[in-house]
């Protein structure tokens, strides 16, 4: 029983970080209706930014959010504006522009390989940071401090993005575009600018996720791929386009991953996670919190 509590806590903490890594994916899909295959690579870029910011300046790893989140917003905004937008315009009349997915796959490969070229295949980690290896010890129970910080950051980010979408004019415009892009355009909303902003916000959340990962995880060129696959499962589980759903989906997977191995081997829990993914697709294709209506 006691073990289960300890593992559930770890599962919730790690799971909310998974949710944070997938949040950008769900935002971008919700608005652009495009699965961004480069999302993991954006996370990787954010991790390198955070790593170098902290290493070069010696600042507290969480202070890097101030730098990484805006930088990633700009990165996402420009990427969408100069690389993805032209395709959108060219495929204006296509309901689901497949070529955009191919372009994001291209971006994924280019980013990963550019990083490999510039930084080499080495693994890097912030060995000397104030959060490294910090543990809350309650009796025999261990709670990882960097993961706790990550969980709090994930909740704050989710609330922040939710507030932004609900309360601000830009947020409303984004929601309007995500509901019906033609109608939104007729109301005077520049849909391509909205896409830019949505992509930027998605990239910024990936940047925030990167900052929470760097204190306890390794940075290497293909790190995004590991989180990418998990991100897709989380987003489908929680419901494509739902911000709370991403967090919930992440936590569910985190708990399965953390509690599962006490009853079976870690290899099997991985199988269960993928199995759950299939079950959700069969039973409730819109996910736990997704909107029912057809995109």
């Amino acid at each position: 029983m006691y073990y289960i509590i300890e593992d559930t806590i770890n599962g919730i903490l790690m799971g909310s970080i998974y949710g944070l890594t997938a949040m950008g994916l769900t935002i971008i899909f919700g608005v652009l209706k495009v699965v961004n295959f480069a999302h993991g690579s954006m996370l990787m870029v954010g991790m390198y930014l955070a790593y170098w910011a902290v290493t070069l300046s010696g600042m507290h790893p969480y202070l890097a959010i101030v730098l990484v989140a805006p930088a990633m917003f700009l990165f996402g905004y420009t990427l969408q504006n100069f690389v993805i937008k032209p395709i959108f315009i060219a495929e204006k009349n296509v309901r689901e522009p497949l070529t955009v997915i191919i372009v994001t796959t291209g971006i994924w490969y280019i980013l990963d390989n550019l990083t490999l070229l510039i930084f080499g295949p080495q693994y890097r980690s912030l060995a000397d940071n104030p959060l490294n290896g910090q543990m809350l010890e309650i009796g025999e129970m261990f709670i990882s401090v960097p993961k706790l910080y990550g969980c709090i950051t994930a909740v704050i980010t989710a609330l922040g993005v939710y507030w932004f979408f609900q309360k601000t004019d830009m947020g409303r415009a984004i929601r309007a575009t995500s509901m019906d892009r033609e109608a939104a355009s007729l109301m005077g909303i520049n849909q391509y600018k909205i896409y830019n902003v949505a992509f930027g916000i998605g990239a910024a959340t990936a940047g925030i996720a990167a900052v929470t990962l760097v204190p306890f995880y390794n940075v290497f060129p293909t790190v995004g791929v590991l989180f990418d696959i998990k991100g897709f499962i989380i987003v489908v589980l929680g419901g494509l386009g739902s911000i709370g759903g991403a967090l919930a989906g992440g936590i569910i997977i985190g708990i399965i991953e953390s509690v599962g191995p006490q009853f079976m081997t870690a290899t099997w829990t991985e199988a269960i996670v993928y199995g759950l993914f299939l079950v959700v697709l069969f039973v409730k294709p819109s996910g736990l919190f997704g909107q029912k209506h057809d995109w």
Binding site: Y3, E6, D7, N10, M14, Y18, Q122, Y123, R124, S125, A127, D128, G133, M135, F142, S144, F216, Y217, N218, F220, V223, L226, F227, K230, G254, E257, S258, V259, G260, P261, Q262, T265, A266, T267, T269, E270
Partner: protein
């Protein structure tokens, strides 16, 4: 003029024939090397090429094969691209067209396996510096000679090392935990560990395969912590080796020793990313630059100056292979393949410039496996120059003045 022509021309011709006959006696020894010079294992193939060239340069500079009138070694390289069918085709070409006297290669076990069959058919001796798959020397071939330790010996040596440590430090080890990546490599090791643990009278308290792509290994670490093993045996790729080492330290898991199996734990970035968390870790490898053998340091310095990197286990095997061939040819005193094969089979090379390996001598058993080949165990520790890998086992190769730390003190 006519007379002159009649006398001189045949005389010239005779002298030419005689001359060629004389040089024929000091004919070079042609060594065909099939290694992956391009493709996925190219960096390893290039290391093998460099090591062979360095050895041959030394051998030729020292006068070549004296019993063959100072015959020089001549290396012929063929690229296998890590493909079995390419290896087989190149072996045919090297034997039939290039007329090589000996073959070596091929690093990738999957290439070496079918390629040795070609050599066996033609009766050409085939020296395998390193291809670890057991089955290469289990084919019953007469012409195959392997320098490196085979797959199953890695686990054998891990347990031999553990027994030696228990004896040396008077510490009893009872409970073992096996944690390994869930691929071919990890599962193969774990299967052998189970048998060895049973034979050694150990109790296995945890047997846990995990996916190398895991983003969080704390559930696995929790399992290790709760199983309370004395010794943890690991097989890991790079990212997971780093994550496991750091998470084990975070959760303050108390162990007497951690024994790793190379791979991720030997990755150049492993020590940089784990730092103090990796202290006292044991890792099994083929060779380490500080191995306490005469000539090892000099060979490594020379190699580093020439090619810009340290000698690796694979490179050392290739280097030693050339000296093993030199020794055999010296005794064979002939280029007849059967004579060379017989000389190789009778090899017992224990000293000389090439012997920089961690074990005492190269000697082949009936299957052609170097029966003395063993691996070395290193410990990660800081002796005042920062964390480094220090050779500690076998005892004859241990770095002078270093005492291993066992059991691991609580951090």
């Amino acid at each position: 003029m006519q007379i002159l022509r009649r006398i001189v021309v045949p005389a010239l011709a005779i002298s030419l024939i005689a001359g060629s006959y004389a040089t024929g006696h000091a004919e070079n020894v042609k060594i065909g090397n099939i290694i992956p010079l391009s493709g996925p294992s190219a960096t390893l193939g290039q290391q093998g090429k460099a090591a062979r060239e360095m050895a041959v340069e030394e051998i030729n500079a020292a006068g070549g094969i004296k019993s063959l009138g100072g015959a020089k070694f001549e290396l012929v390289f063929a690229d296998s691209e890590s493909k079995p069918e390419k290896g087989v085709a190149e072996a045919e070409r090297l034997i039939n067209t290039e007329k090589v006297n000996v073959l070596t290669g091929c690093w990738n076990s999957a290439v070496t396996y079918p390629t040795t069959a070609v050599a066996e058919r033609y009766g050409i001796p085939f020296v395998v510096p390193v291809s670890v798959s057991d089955k290469i020397t289990d084919q019953g071939f007469k012409t195959v000679f392997r320098i490196a330790a085979k797959d199953s010996w890695w686990t054998r040596d891990q347990f031999a090392f553990l027994k030696d440590m228990e004896k040396e430090f008077g510490t009893k080890v009872e409970r073992l935990a096996f944690v390994y990546e869930n691929g071919d490599w990890g599962k193969g090791f774990a299967g052998q560990w189970k048998k060895l643990a049973e034979a050694g009278g150990y109790k296995v308290v945890l047997d846990e395969p995990y996916p190398s792509t895991a983003t969080d290994l704390s559930p696995v670490v929790q399992k290790i912590r709760r199983a309370k093993p004395d010794v943890l045996l690991l097989v890991s790729n790079a990212a997971d080796a780093i994550l496991l080492t750091n998470t084990l330290a975070d959760y303050k898991v108390k162990l007497k020793a951690i024994i790793a199996s190379g791979g991720g734990h030997a990755d150049p970035s492993f020590l940089k990313t784990t730092g103090k968390n990796a202290q006292y870790l044991f890792d099994i490898v083929e060779w380490e630059t500080d191995v306490n053998k005469p000539g090892a340091k000099e060979a490594n310095d020379k190699y580093k100056a020439k090619y810009g990197q340290n000698l690796t286990g694979e490179a050392v095997d290739a280097y030693v292979a050339m000296y093993v061939l030199k020794d055999a040819l010296e005794r064979a005193a002939s280029l007849d393949p059967e004579k060379i094969r017989e000389a190789l089979a009778a090899t017992n090379l224990s000293s000389g410039p090439g012997m920089i390996v961690g074990y005492d001598s190269v000697k082949f058993d009936k299957t052609g496996q170097n029966e003395n080949a063993s691996l070395v165990m290193v410990q990660v520790n800081d002796t005042g120059k920062g964390l480094e890998r220090i050779t500690i086992w076998p005892k004859s190769a241990r770095r002078a003045g270093y005492t291993p730390v066992f059991p691991m003190p609580n951090k």
